[in-house]
């Protein structure tokens, strides 16, 4: 009986694989040509880069939910750590500290560039936020930042800002049309406001996922 179990599992997995492959091969050709649709509406989106247009305008709803999921993940992490065990910054090697002090402003500059260039070339809020978060992790490793196990009010506002601004804009344009359908004249400005607040919040959330760790190891 015990010997037969793996064989049965492998057979069932192979059957599922074959069914999936058959379903894949059976798919009808695309009913909608998405690249063409995006290119046709790019002029009205407020940005010149198709990926940013899809993420922030045509499918802004997905991005709104993504930032909400990120924030929820951080809530989960913060619920797990013990704020009483919060440790202060633990100074690392002076060389690492100097390097981190030199690199952190440059990384903020790169994040700003990625955010700005996102309107017309590869870049955008998530990439810029990731660079910001990397700067935070680097400063933590160099012992220049305390743990964020118990974020203060200012930090909490920063963490939630992206979602709040996104929801506020979504609600503001609700009178104009449907959810997250920007008026074309304002689209560029609105997307920039959303992306700037998203960058800050994504950077802080991703960094906080790491900085919420209470233990300090040199």
């Amino acid at each position: 009986m015990k010997r037969a179990l793996p064989v049965v599992i492998v057979a069932l997995a192979a059957l599922l694989g074959a069914a999936l492959a058959a379903a894949m091969l059976d798919l009808p050709p695309h009913a909608v040509r998405l690249p063409g649709a995006v290119a046709a509406n790019l002029a009205a989106s407020g940005v010149a880069h198709p990926i940013t247009a899809v993420l922030l305008n045509f499918r802004g709803y997905d991005t709104l939910l993504e930032i909400a999921v990120l924030l929820l993940a951080l809530f989960g992490v913060l619920a797990l750590v013990k704020p009483h065990a919060a440790g202060a910054a633990h100074p690392a090697h002076p060389l690492l500290q100097t390097l981190a002090r030199l690199l952190a402003p440059l990384m903020v500059l790169v994040a700003g560039y990625l955010l700005w260039i996102g309107a017309s070339a590869p870049g955008g809020a998530f990439q810029a936020g990731a660079v910001l978060a990397a700067a935070g992790v680097l400063l933590r490793l160099a012992g220049l930042l305390p743990t964020w196990a118990a974020p203060n009010l200012l930090l909490r506002v920063g963490l939630a800002l992206g979602l709040l601004v996104f929801v506020a804009v979504a609600a503001a344009v609700l009178g104009h049309a449907t959810l997250l359908t920007y008026p074309p004249a304002l689209a560029g400005g609105l997307i920039l406001v959303i992306e700037a607040s998203l960058t800050l919040s994504i950077g802080l959330i991703l960094a906080a996922l790491y900085l919420a760790s209470t233990e300090v190891r040199p």
């Binding site: 990625l114 590869p122 870049g123 990397a134 790491y210």
Partner: protein, 85 residues
């Protein structure tokens, strides 16, 4: 054989090799380092496929931040296994 084709083939082999090693290696620390290597190679692959946006996200989030988080987790596990060390 053109240089780009040779590069692509090398990239494919390195991707599969690093993925297999990351899953099979016994030492957790080595596994995480191999996952970071895999992430960076994957970013290269996305760039070769003409998707610079995904390449940027993969390099920053997939390799960088996930790697940092996993290394942190490995450190926690080691500290738990060797109390006082």
């Amino acid at each position: 054989m053109s240089a780009t084709l040779a590069f692509d083939l090398l990239l494919i082999v390195a991707l599969v090799w690093s993925a297999a090693r990351a899953l099979t290696v016994a030492d957790l620390f080595r596994g995480v380092v191999l996952l970071i290597v895999f992430g960076l190679l994957m970013a290269l692959a996305w760039a070769r496929l003409g998707a610079p946006d995904i390449a940027l996200a993969e390099a920053a989030i997939g390799a960088g931040l996930t790697g940092a988080l996993l290394l942190d987790a490995v450190g926690h596990l080691r500290a738990k296994r060797e109390p006082g060390a």
